[in-house]
């Protein structure tokens, strides 16, 4: 497939606040701090920015960014839907804005006081539950972990997966975070015994199968490949960036059509990703796999083709996902141990792996994969050096 985006653009700057349980600052301020840092490391200013992209769940309005930073040259802006499915979609849209000539320098950002402010894992308690939520809430399936647990159970039924196998995902994330001083759980060790003895909250999921709740913000600067080469930072070329919807699809509760152990949205994104990149899973040196809940990581590893359907339990427990494994994943600690900026912080780590600046640096990285949320319309990207 002739892909008009391949290597035409690059992530030229990344910025992040600290990850914390209580930032003590507004989400607007966090966003501005992250954007400012991303621009500064590229040697750019708000005057250079002519495009903005954010997520539909974003608390900081684009006009608040423009008003605070005195941006006067904005020519195009977009908001990418579907929450945790949006991060790599933001890269894809920013790349399209630049490669089409509409923009020269696009900022994408995500800010959240998700721990100290509104917590996604806690129920809104609305008067009535609309959409597909109304089919689940009356029975007590109210928050994402409870919806995803239904998928996790089905993995155990179909593939005979065990909690010992599942444990390898949070244990890998945590060990990586223990090497990453910026990770929220940098100083907290996790053992297999801790995992196996943890209370099962939404059976079969225990607390260590859940992502964190985090305050913080991240930002990216996307420019043309040519421009990125003239800037202060090391470019991470956008080799491919795609979205995928799948059929049938709801949010974290894809109960009503097809398999509970395959993400139709993952399959749709993966198909495009490999076609447009001209690569195969064997080309990928390191991957950041969206880890909101453990079983979703296993399903994603299969759907993107790193192992056969049903083999992910064995794949993760055979040492393949550790720093020295076949496919090191979530090398900053992932959403389970670095922080949960709704999947956007995974992109920063994918960039660091290209730059050679990860705290769990994989040697000689040529292609760095990042995926967005399994269980919603999603997206994925491959960055290259």
């Amino acid at each position: 497939m002739n892909d008009q985006l391949k290597r035409k653009t690059a992530i030229a700057g990344i910025g992040t606040t600290e990850y914390s349980f209580n930032s003590g600052r507004s989400e607007q301020r966090l966003a501005i701090e992250a954007i400012n840092q991303a621009l500064q490391e590229a040697g750019l200013t708000p005057d250079d920015v002519d495009g903005l992209v954010n997520s539909d769940y974003e608390a900081t309005n684009q006009v608040d960014v423009v008003n605070a930073m005195g941006m006067q040259n904005i020519a195009s802006f977009a908001t990418i839907p579907h929450g945790g499915g949006s991060p790599c979609g933001a890269i894809a849209h920013a790349a399209m804005m630049v490669a089409s000539g509409q923009c020269k320098c696009v900022v994408a950002y995500r800010s959240m006081n998700e721990r100290s402010g509104h917590r996604y894992g806690s129920p809104e308690i609305p008067a009535r539950y609309d959409w597909v939520y109304g089919l689940h809430a009356p029975y007590g399936l109210i928050v994402p972990a409870e919806w995803v647990a239904m998928h996790g159970r089905r993995r155990m039924i179909e593939f005979g997966e065990t909690r010992e196998q599942w444990a390898q995902v949070p244990l890998t994330c945590r060990a990586n975070a223990n090497n990453n001083p910026a990770a929220l759980l940098h100083e907290k060790k996790l053992t297999l015994e801790d995992y196996l003895n943890a209370p099962i909250l939404a059976d079969p999921l225990c607390r260590y199968d859940y992502c964190l709740e985090t305050d913080g913000a991240v930002a990216l600067v996307i420019t043309s490949a040519e421009k990125a080469e003239s800037l202060a930072s090391t470019p991470a070329y956008i080799h491919a960036a795609v979205q995928g919807m799948g059929h049938q699809i709801w949010y974290q509760s894809n109960y009503y059509g097809g398999s509970l152990t395959t993400g139709s949205e993952n399959v749709a994104a993966a198909k495009q990703l490999w076609a447009k990149s001209g690569l195969t899973p064997r080309n990928i040196d390191v991957a950041q796999i969206y880890d909101h809940f453990t079983p979703a990581v296993l399903t994603s590893l299969e759907d993107y083709g790193f192992c056969e359907k049903g083999d992910a339990g064995g794949f993760v427990s055979d040492g393949n996902i550790g720093p020295d494994g076949e496919l090191p994943i979530n090398t900053a600690g992932g959403l389970q141990a670095e922080g949960y900026i709704h999947g956007w912080n995974l992109i920063l780590e994918a960039v660091r792996q290209i730059r050679g600046t990860s705290s769990n640096q994989v040697r000689d990285v040529e292609f760095s994969l990042v995926t967005s949320c399994c269980g919603a319309p999603t997206s994925a990207a491959i960055l290259s050096r």
């Binding site: 308690i125 109304g134 009356p138 399936l141 239904m150 209370p199 009503y256 509970l260």
Partner: protein, 139 residues
């Protein structure tokens, strides 16, 4: 530390014109399934068009009410006040004979749950407007 749990009833759905007939039937203790008049596909959740043949000629058929347990979750920590006194409780996903799947409660011990467990639907009256799905094991 003590805190008051607000008085909140069972969570209820918000309906629209596509879903109202299905819920109204539950209140009459009748399980309907949206059915395509052209290709006869059974469709759930209800929607404006048949995703199989793209027909908009959709009608409501009575369901056999029979199916088998496809997956389940046991909630040990509840967030919503209504469910806090009910833990641990199970929520099941049932594959019906017509191929659709339904989320509901189940009237059995949690350790009785297994893949393929045969069940049939009964109805749990909530208030004047709503009844919910309560499956029972078929012996």
């Amino acid at each position: 530390m003590s805190y008051e749990i607000p008085e909140l009833g069972r969570p209820l759905p918000k309906l629209n014109a596509d879903t109202e007939p299905w819920w109204a039937a539950l209140k009459r203790h009748q399980l309907l399934v949206q059915t395509c008049s052209d290709c006869e596909m059974a469709i759930h959740p209800p929607r404006p068009m048949c995703p199989n043949c793209r027909s908009m000629e959709l009608s409501w058929s009575p369901s056999s009410g029979k199916g088998s347990v496809y997956s389940w979750v046991i909630i040990n920590r509840a967030f919503h006040p209504y469910f806090m006194e009910k833990i641990p409780f199970a929520v099941v996903l049932v594959e019906m004979e017509d191929g659709t799947r339904l989320v509901g409660s189940i009237d059995c011990e949690n350790d009785q749950l297994e893949d393929g467990l045969p069940v049939e639907v009964t109805f749990d009256d909530v208030d004047d407007d709503f009844s919910m799905l309560l499956f029972r094991v078929v012996r």
